[in-house]
């Protein structure tokens, strides 16, 4: 299905309370900031957020946290937003931490129909506690479950009218992976181009993975 084109407000109306939402970005780079702004305007709450960070303090996802919309965060590095630590201490936020390589592979494999995999990372550490381990060829590996979400909110550079995507420099990060791993993928783009304008060899995310495209407003 070629992607549907909507406004940010229309798109985030598709995100239900209580849902699991993947949000792209490494810090603020590659976060779909317009979608997050629009989400803040809705009544959505009790979100489980799968994102590398919870934005930065008071920015991006950090705003949703301060507005008490997030009940759980799954990610790799929350240290850069001090609000996360405070919310956790106050019992207002549940946190699940994964090594970044495990996190990114779990998302890619979640989008690929692979439910679990073994990784050497974290074997023998606190992050492997309570997880199954297994020896392959004399080395210890941790069994990790893949990640999926109800909705992915991602950021790309350009979309064509079918929803094929290309990214911009290090803003690519987790976005192409999350596009694969959600039942509904909503992408915010800087620019929409006609079908045929993107090089077929350079399309990173084919439109099969994209449900909704939102063009970022020029003002934001």
């Amino acid at each position: 299905m070629p992607a549907r084109f909507m406004t940010a407000r229309e798109a985030v109306a598709l995100v239900p309370s209580g849902s699991t939402v993947m949000v792209g970005g490494f810090g603020l780079s590659g976060q779909p900031l317009s979608l997050l702004e629009a989400l803040l305007e809705t009544e959505v709450r009790d979100l489980t957020v799968i994102s590398n960070n919870v934005g930065q303090q008071g920015k991006g996802l950090g705003k949703l946290l301060l507005d008490n919309r997030i009940k759980k965060a799954i990610g790799t590095y929350f240290t850069s937003n001090p609000d996360v630590s405070r919310y956790k201490r106050e019992g207002k936020l549940e946190v699940e931490l994964l090594p970044q390589g495990t996190f990114s592979e779990a998302i890619r494999l979640g989008g690929s129909g692979i439910p679990a995999f073994y990784t050497p990372t974290a074997a023998g550490t606190l992050l492997a506690e309570g997880k199954e381990t297994r020896i392959f060829d004399g080395k210890e590996y941790v069994l990790e479950r893949s990640l999926r979400a109800d909705v992915a909110l991602i950021k790309a550079y350009k979309a064509d009218r079918y929803g094929n995507l290309v990214y911009y420099k290090t803003a690519r990060n987790f976005n192409p992976l999350m596009a694969m791993a959600a039942d509904l993928t909503i992408v915010e783009v800087d620019e929409v181009v006609e079908v045929g304008e993107l090089d077929p060899e350079a399309i990173v995310t084919p439109h099969v993975f994209v449900d909704v495209v939102v063009q970022k407003e020029a003002s934001s």
Partner: protein, 228 residues
């Protein structure tokens, strides 16, 4: 009337605008030519392309632009290329809406056996298992009987399975069945055959749909003429 082409035409009618579809080897590859012109269907081929276009004229064929049947194809506007792991991620991840695949046998509970024959070397599976397990809707296309007149639609498959209970639709030159809650349901019969005659060549148990209808193949012939 070539039964293979009728089956391909009938399968093409199952495809809707916006569908992402993978066509298997054999009869399925013929489906591309019968997709109604007013429906925008996107063909994925597991060797790494989304946006398969029609067979190009001989002079513009490219040995490095082929489908999974290793036949020359063209590239539609808006197409993309990717590696085999992303291609199968699309399938297993549930991103392919429909696959059309051939079969050697199919059971009344939707088991498919299309890759191996007992007593022969098992030397090729290709993408069949991933496709059938991964695609959201599996449309099986087949001649109703083997070339030597043996039944293929059985209570249980006797050949090694490709996947269990994954068939959603079965289309032959005589009939269309759907699999609903693991029950096989007859939905459509060509008017060259009676229900009794169908029963005789179909050992599998099937119910008859509330929406059952008899069809004649004129529609296909008309369509074919308009294309020729």
């Amino acid at each position: 009337m070539d039964p293979r082409h009728y089956v391909a035409w009938r399968a093409a009618q199952e495809l809707e605008s916006g569908d992402i579809v993978n066509l298997g080897i054999g009869i399925p590859i013929l489906v591309a030519d019968y997709i109604p012109k007013d429906r925008q269907v996107f063909l994925q081929s597991e060797n790494g392309i989304l946006g398969v276009g029609p067979t190009p004229p001989t002079e513009s064929q490219d040995p490095d632009l082929i489908n999974a049947s290793k036949l020359p194809i063209s590239e539609q506007i808006g197409a993309s290329y990717f590696d085999s792991s992303l291609s199968f991620a699309m399938m297993r991840g549930g991103h392919i809406h429909k696959t059309v695949i051939g079969t050697l046998q199919i059971s009344q509970s939707g088991d498919i056996a299309n890759w191996a024959v007992p007593g022969k070397d098992v030397l090729g599976v290709g993408g069949a298992m991933d496709l059938i397990v991964g695609a959201r809707t599996v449309i099986v296309v087949s001649t109703h009987l083997t070339s030597d007149g043996k039944p293929k639609i059985l209570p249980a498959c006797t050949f090694p399975l490709t996947a269990k209970g994954e068939a959603d639709v079965l289309i032959t030159e005589y009939a269309v069945f759907r699999f609903i809650d693991n029950q096989m349901v007859l939905e459509e019969l060509v008017d060259d055959l009676t229900l009794d005659q169908l029963k005789q060549i179909t050992p599998a148990h099937y119910e008859i749909s509330d929406h059952f209808r008899m069809v004649n193949r004129t529609e296909y012939l008309t369509n074919k003429q308009s294309m020729g």
